[in-house]
C-alpha cells in the first residue's frame, strides 16, 4: 500500500496487446478458450516501476511508439494492465486528447455541461464553474455556437478550460498542449504551475524537451516500453534522450525510416539538419524545401515547403516553429493565423501537391536557429499530425554580427546634446 504522500504508484507495470491478423481470429480465440493462440503479442510496456509524489510534476519522454501513451492510459485506468499495477491515490483528470468527448454538432455551452457530466459533475456544480471556464476559454459569443464552427484555437481553449475546471488531485497530460497558439500554451502552463503549487500531481508526456525541462521536477525516459533507469533530474535525462535521438535519427515509428523518405530532395538541400526528429501518420509528407535567408539586416526570410498528399486531407494546417539551439521557441505561426493573411486551406485530394510559403521578417541576431515544420489535420476535434519534422532546417545567420542577444530590435537611438555647462 503506498504511503500518504505518494499520488501514483506504478509497480512492474506491463501491457501486452493481442494483435489479431483478421477480425475473425478474435472470435476463434474466444471459442478455443486459450487452447490455441491466434494472435501475436506486442509488449508496449515492460516492467515499469516508479512513484509520483503529491505536488510533483513528472515528465515522461520517449519516441513515438515507446509506450508513453499506453503508460498514461494505464495510469488513468482506461487500459487494464497485463501484469503489475498502477495505484492512483485521488481523483484523476485525463487530458489525453483535448475535447475527446466533444460533439461538433452541439454548442460550446452544451459540450461544457456534458463534459462536466462525463467527469461526474451535476448541472448545479457546473453552473458554479461555468463563468471560470468561459473566462479562461475566452471565446465570447461563440460559446452558444455549435463547436463545428470553431477554429482550432477556440476548440482547444474551451477543451482545456473544461478539463482543468474539475479540481483533480492528479492531472495526466498527453501532449495535448502541443496544439494551440504559443500564447495559449503559455497560459495553460501557467495554470498548470498554479495547480501544481496547490498540491496537484501532474504527469506530463511530451516530445518537447523544452516543455519537459521547464515544467518537470523529475523525468523518466521510455524506450521500447522500458523505463531507462529511474526518474531523474530533468536536464540529465533530456540530454540522454537527445543523445539517443542523434544516434538513430530516422528510427521513429510511422513515417520515418521509409525508403521513399530517404530519396526526398529535402535531405540534400543546404540547411537540412540530419539530426531532425520526424513523426506523423504519413498521410502527407514534406518532400522538399527552399529557403532564402535575409540578405541584409531586417530583411525577409522566405521558406517554401513542398508537400505531397498520399491521402485526401480536408483543411490541412501548416505550422512553423523557430527555436534556438538550446531548444527555446522564439516564435511560431500556422496557417490558421488570421493576421498572416492566409487564404483558407482547401481540401487536398490524394496524390496532389501543395507548396506553402512562409514569408517572415525574423529580426534575429547572428546565431544558429532551427525550424520545425508540421502539417496536420483536425478531424472532429482530433488533431492528427500527418508529418512533423522537428528541427528539420538549420539556419545560420551572420548579420548583424555585432549585436548581443537574439532579437534585433532594429533600434533607432537619438541623442540630443545641449551646449553649455550644467548648473550645479
Amino acid at each position: 500500500m503506498p504511503s500518504d504522500d505518494i499520488a501514483i504508484s506504478v509497480r512492474n507495470l506491463t501491457k501486452t496487446y493481442r494483435l489479431f491478423g483478421h477480425p475473425g481470429d478474435r472470435i476463434k480465440q474466444f471459442f478455443t478458450l486459450g487452447m490455441r493462440q491466434y494472435y501475436r503479442g506486442f509488449t508496449a510496456l515492460n516492467e515499469v516501476s516508479f512513484d509520483v509524489r503529491k505536488g510533483e510534476t513528472v515528465g515522461i519522454i520517449g519516441r513515438n511508439g515507446s509506450g508513453k501513451s499506453t503508460l498514461l492510459q494505464l495510469i488513468c485506468g482506461i487500459l487494464k494492465p497485463t501484469s503489475g499495477s498502477a495505484i492512483v491515490n485521488g481523483r484523476v483528470s485525463a487530458l489525453l486528447e483535448l475535447g475527446a468527448g466533444f460533439n461538433p454538432e452541439f454548442t460550446g455551452r452544451e459540450n461544457t455541461y456534458f463534459q462536466g457530466a462525463l467527469m461526474g459533475f451535476t448541472q448545479a456544480q457546473m453552473n458554479e464553474r461555468f463563468d471560470d471556464i468561459a473566462a479562461f476559454a475566452d471565446i465570447g459569443a461563440f460559446m452558444d455556437q455549435s463547436v463545428r464552427t470553431y477554429s482550432n484555437g477556440m476548440f482547444v481553449r474551451l477543451a482545456f478550460a473544461v478539463a482543468i475546471s474539475v479540481d483533480p488531485d492528479i492531472l495526466v497530460v498527453d501532449e495535448a498542449l502541443a496544439v494551440g497558439d504559443a500564447q495559449f500554451q503559455a497560459r495553460c502552463f501557467s495554470r498548470l504551475a498554479a495547480m501544481r503549487d496547490s498540491g496537484i500531481s501532474i504527469v506530463l508526456v511530451s516530445h518537447s524537451t523544452e516543455q519537459i525541462l521547464r515544467h518537470c521536477d523529475r523525468v523518466g525516459m521510455l524506450e521500447h516500453g522500458k523505463l531507462m533507469g529511474d526518474l531523474g533530474e530533468p536536464r540529465q535525462i533530456v540530454n540522454q534522450y537527445v543523445a539517443t535521438l542523434a544516434a538513430a535519427p530516422a528510427a521513429g515509428a510511422g513515417i520515418a525510416g521509409n525508403d521513399t523518405v530517404r530519396q526526398e530532395p529535402f535531405l540534400s538541400r543546404p540547411g537540412y539538419n540530419p539530426g531532425e526528429f520526424r513523426s506523423g501518420n504519413g498521410k502527407a509528407r514534406f518532400v522538399d524545401f527552399r529557403m532564402s535567408a535575409p540578405k541584409a539586416r531586417g530583411g525577409r526570410l522566405m521558406l517554401e515547403l513542398d508537400v505531397i498528399f498520399l491521402h485526401t486531407v480536408s483543411r490541412p494546417l501548416y505550422s512553423l516553429f523557430i527555436r534556438t539551439a538550446d531548444g527555446v521557441t522564439l516564435s511560431s505561426t500556422n496557417s490558421d493565423d488570421k493576421a498572416a493573411q492566409t487564404q483558407p486551406a482547401l481540401t487536398q485530394e490524394a496524390g496532389t501537391r501543395a507548396t506553402v510559403c512562409f514569408d517572415l521578417q525574423p529580426n534575429l541576431c547572428a546565431g544558429d536557429y532551427f525550424f520545425s515544420i508540421a502539417v496536420s489535420e483536425t478531424r472532429y476535434g482530433d488533431k492528427e499530425v500527418l508529418d512533423r519534422r522537428h528541427d528539420a532546417i538549420h539556419l545560420v545567420l551572420h548579420d548583424p554580427a555585432n549585436l548581443g542577444g537574439m532579437v534585433d530590435m532594429q533600434p533607432l537611438i537619438r541623442i540630443d546634446s545641449q551646449p553649455g555647462e550644467v548648473q550645479r
Binding site: Y17, R18, P23, R26, I27, Q73, C76, G77, I78, L79, K80, V92, A94, L96, E97, A100, G101, N103, E105, F106, E110, Y113, F114, A117, L118, M119, G120, T122, Q123, D382
Partner: protein, 269 residues
Amino acid sequence: MRSEAINPIKITSELLRHRYLLGQLVKRDVLLRYRGAMFGVLWIFLSPLLMLAIFAFVFGHIFQARWPHQPDGLPFWLMLYCGLIVFNVFGETVSRSPTAVRGFPAYVKKIIFPVEILPLVPLGAALTHAGFNFLILAAALAWTGHFSAGLLLFPLLIVPVLLLGIGAAWFLAAWGVFIKDMSQIVPLFVQMLLFLSPVLYPVSAVPPGLTFIYNANPLGAVIEAARAAIIGQPIAWPAWGAALVLGIAVAILGHAFFQHSRDEFADAL
C-alpha cells in the same frame, strides 16, 4: 469473473450512480437525431403521427383489415400500432446496440468513462420514442372511443422487454466492438423477428401446430399482454411472468459478458 458483474443489486446501484450522465447521453442522442432539421424536435411527435395516419389509411381504408377473432373491437391499425410500440422498444435498442460502444472510441480510449452505460443509451432513446408513441396511442384510443384504464398498465407491462433489450444490447455492444458485421446482421435479424412476433397478428391466428414457437418468444407474451390490457381482456400473467424472469436472466448475463470483455475494448478500437 468478478461477482459484482452478476449481482443484480450491485448492477442496478452502479447504473443508478451514473443516472445523470446517462440522462445527458440519452438527451444528446435524441436531440442529435433532430438537430438541424427545420421542424427540429417536433419530428419526435410528427413521425409516429404520420406513421399512424398511414396505417389507418392503408389497413383501415384500403385493406379494410379486421383483427382476427376480434370482429367489432379495436380497428386493426390500432392493434398493430400497440404491438409495434412494444416491439420497437426492443427492436430499436437492439438494432443500434452493435455501434453503441464502437461508435464512441474516444469514450473508451481517451477519457475515464463508465463504458457499461453506453448500451443503455439506445434503450433510453427507444423509451423516449415509445413515450411519445404511447401518448399518440392514448389520444387515438380516446378519439376512436376505445380508451380504457388498462392503458395505465402499459408502462409496467413493457418491463420484460426493457430487460431483454438491455441484456441483448450489452451482449451485442460488446460483440460489435470486435466484429463490425454485427451492425449489418442485427437489424436484419430484428426485421425477421418483427414478422415472427405477434405484432401484425395475434398468436391465436397461428396454426395450432406452430404455437410452440410463439410460446418460446418472450416478446410475444409481452405484446399480447399489452394488447389485452388495452382492449380490456384478461392478461396472461404466467406467460408475462416467464418473460420477466427470462428478461432478468438475459440482462444479468449480458452485463456479465460485457464486463468480461470490456478490458479488450480499448485494444480493439
